[in-house]
Symmetry: C2
Subunit: 531 residues, 2 copies
């Protein structure tokens, strides 16, 4: 990439598929990894540490199938350790498998903390230096680019700085050009990171330094930042901060952060726009919960709740936003909640009636209804379809129900087979009554199918929409009241996806409520030609 206006180029080293996969609940299949290395081209030129062929048969399978191994844009890296104690490198199964993977770049980690050499490797300090030096040299002789990861470097530097530096020196003697300093246990403070990085720079002058930290004290991003400020030019991390224990440095945060300082060139502006969708893609790929409070990319990152904040934002965006959300592919949201001021409600009502004024009595009526429902378990932030239906009713645009559900029953014989449930649904549209029986996979699916089938002849748009997500939350009955169930359904129509909500003590009733809102909203969206 270009040296833009004197900015320093920072290289991204993405270890989501390797270190990220060590996080609790994180899992990538071979197919996931292959999909990932295609999709990551959105981010431009970077390294992707894709796995440990040798430790994990599924990773060997990946390297065999990966067609991107010669790609100029995405550098796929094979990860592993030095050869074993007392072993020559050319007899090391680990190193031979790394070579066999076909990856042009290989990253190997070695111990740089004497405690690990003694208690885990159970060998001498000298032997550890030997295996580092010789493993690096061997891989280089085979024509690979070699990165050396100094595992536990900062703990090692704190307890035995001389030895920690010797380990780096051994890698350099072996011919390594890039040294990655690791805060493997995640316990270092920023000043300790700066001290370690500076010492390596001054004493040993490696060609390139990388930083790899963990978030056990909530400082992974700050530690990566100070490392860069101390001379590191390669940042290692994972999208969404996935990883062992508290995770790795979060690339979804670190990349925009560094870019925003104005001092570093990390990705192109075009790639920065994709940070939000890409981060979400990674979470969906591995079915992990997505932290919506995440800086830059979370759904809440630019979501404003307090009435005073909303009021100010609408006057001048800089008053409560540190940057323009669009630059990272995110968007501002004005939340409707029990803390909503009239400004919040008005902003949303204006989508349906553009000349609406703050003192219109319908604003206060809508606000009070929302606060009351929120109080009883509704959460409109995740169910904008239900919210908009409520607002349309308060505007008087939906006074006549489009249909009526007269009755419904569901029964299930789960041992029968896949289509084990039957729903019988009776609806009325205008003067006409329709009763339908439909099968489904489980009671909710049967009910959803039944309602749609019954109503589709009157509202054909229902055939174009589909239920794409179904979330159930049991809200604790700890306050002496019975537990209630909150169901949120996501429906897709064309390119749009929106949520609807149902709240009840009964999972079927809650599901029905959310389904009916989804149907009503779909019908409304279908009627309104401007959508």
């Amino acid at each position: 990439m270009n040296r833009d206006q004197g900015k320093k180029k920072i290289t991204i080293y993405d270890t989501t598929l390797r270190d990220g996969a060590q996080g609790e609940g994180i899992h990538f299949s071979t197919q996931d990894k292959l999909s990932y290395v295609n999709r990551i081209e959105d981010m431009g030129n970077l390294y992707v540490e894709a796995g440990w062929p040798g430790a994990n048969p599924r990773d060997e399978e990946f390297f065999q199938q990966c067609t991107k191994l010669q790609s100029p844009l995405v550098n796929i890296v094979a990860f592993g350790s030095t050869c074993k104690v007392s072993e020559p490198p050319d007899k090391s199964d680990i190193l031979l498998k790394l070579l066999a993977s076909g990856a042009k770049t290989i990253a190997i980690f070695g111990k740089s903390w004497d405690l690990h050499v003694r208690d885990v490797l159970r060998t001498t300090l000298e032997e550890n230096l030997r295996i580092i030096r010789e493993s690096v040299a061997f891989l280089l002789q085979q024509g690979r680019e070699v990165f050396f990861d100094a595992e536990h470097f900062f703990d090692g530097f704190k307890e035995n700085p001389e030895y920690a530096l010797k380990c780096i020196a051994a890698a350099l003697e072996g011919g390594a050009k890039t040294i990655v300093l690791c805060d493997t246990n995640g316990g270092s403070l920023p000043e300790e990171i700066a001290a370690g990085v500076s010492a390596v720079k001054q004493e040993l002058s490696p060609q390139e330094l990388g930083i790899h930290v963990h978030n056990d004290r909530g400082l992974a991003v700050a530690n990566s930042l100070i490392a860069v400020e101390s001379g590191v030019t390669q940042i290692q991390g994972t999208w969404n901060g996935f990883g062992e224990r508290c995770g790795n440095a979060n690339l979804s945060t670190l990349i925009p952060l560094l870019q925003l300082t104005g001092k570093y060139e990390v990705v192109s502006d075009a790639a920065l726009l994709k940070i939000t969708p890409f981060s979400r893609y990674v979470a969906e790929l591995t079915n992990a919960p997505f932290d919506e409070k995440q800086p830059f990319v979370g759904r809440s990152a630019f979501a404003h709740k307090a009435g005073m904040h909303v009021d100010a934002i609408l006057k001048n965006q800089r008053t409560f936003e540190h940057m323009d959300p669009a630059d990272v592919g995110n968007e501002r949201r004005i939340l409707i909640s029990d803390q909503a001021g009239k400004a919040n409600i008005l902003e949303r009502l204006c989508r349906f009636e553009s000349d609406m004024r703050k003192d219109d009595p319908r604003v206060e009526i809508a606000m009070n209804e929302i606060k009351e429902l929120e109080h009883s378990g509704f959460q409109f932030e995740a169910a904008e379809g239900s919210l908009d239906l409520l607002l349309l009713r308060s505007l008087g645009k939906l006074t006549t129900p489009m249909f009526e559900v007269l009755d419904y029953h569901v029964w299930s014989d789960p041992l029968r087979g896949e289509l084990d449930s039957v729903a019988v649904v009776k609806v009325k549209v205008g003067e006409e009554t329709v009763q339908i029986a439909s099968e489904g996979n489980g009671p909710v699916n049967a009910l959803d199918t039944g309602l749609r089938q019954a109503l589709a002849k009157f509202f054909p748009i229902l055939e174009e929409s589909e239920l794409v997500n179904y979330k159930v939350r049991v809200l604790d009955g700890a306050h002496g009241t019975e537990a209630i169930v909150r169901v949120i359904i996501d429906t897709r129509l064309g390119n749009d996806v929106w949520g609807t909500i149902g709240v009840s003590k009964n999972i079927l009733r809650a599901s029905a409520q959310a389904l009916l809102d989804a149907i009503n909203w779909t019908i409304w969206m279908g009627r309104d030609a401007s959508h």
Copy 2:
């Protein structure tokens, strides 16, 4: 608290109930807040900013009902703003309501960024100084302790440092002893925080400085840390980092972090032990998702997955842990996953057969079965009941099923009333067959009740256990396969709670699987006298 061995005392200012409540999806009822101020005594002496009486009728209700307003341990603070532009303080509705709340300590915020004075308040720079100075003075005259929050201070200091300092000076002229510097938009870097704090200290020498930052760039904890290192002695934040947009500085992280440096006295060691349960309590109180990757208090914080890490940890705890989890009331967990090495599985098997060895063939059999199930959607990390049943079977301790479910059907008439579902369950125990019909609130509740009723006559322990949580996750069918449903149930027996899991394309079948595991596990726990 004592000045312990030259450590600097740091005061906690907890704004969970006020700023935390501005986070998306966060909500505290009056009852929640009253419960909170009782429970927070676990943390020792601190300030609790409980709400804005005046802006929020529910907050007025809280201050009226709060019996802790005169507590020596927990200082309840009422929060609000300065009086309005062109308004004398003694006519200010805002200030009068703050006084009427009865809180001994009042925190008011005022603008310290000229942009806000111009664009939001729409007044002169001088008038803003007046309302700061006079509001502080007025509240002090009424005998309250007054904290002044310099809103947007660091942005103000960057763009117009002279004016930002004038705003602080105005508060000091009014008589304020504690000045809180706020990074309200969350966009400041650590060096900017240090610069702002140092300037205020040097130029104005306030008696006490507080720091209040937001996490929009992932630096809230690091910024609070550097502020303390620059001379701040009051840290403001929220438990679990709840709050507007990306949240406030996370007290669950910041308190242990500061304590671990050895330089600061923040809480007693006894209080530190309660940090993990207290953080969870706060999330449960408000029904918010709990980030299990959180430093110190998350379930994953000391969870080890990679086989090599587990192997090392069992040799020496320091190899992969930055501290002892017990010190913060947390615990180490060895994860079982597809990345589990034999060490992970062995550690858990040893709970049932203490002299088991790593080369026992049953270890590998168990490991392979787990990896296969994980691959098809199971997640044993959240379902240790199901995991242990699998391990018991692999050890040959559960070869004969304790019962058999021959058949089950469920039907629901949701419009009928609360007990709208009926389950018919047929089970066989030994030679005896039992068929039962039971009512329930929704199909899963009916099924749960039916299974327990049918089996309780054979296994009375089932009457002592109860289902306490029920989570459903639909796993995306995006890979061209149909979506599957994962159900996790938490069951309580006495003081223990554990999870069981079911995976199926059908919500009832998945629920039944999890319920049956819960029942099997309860029966096992009841049989084994040593539990």
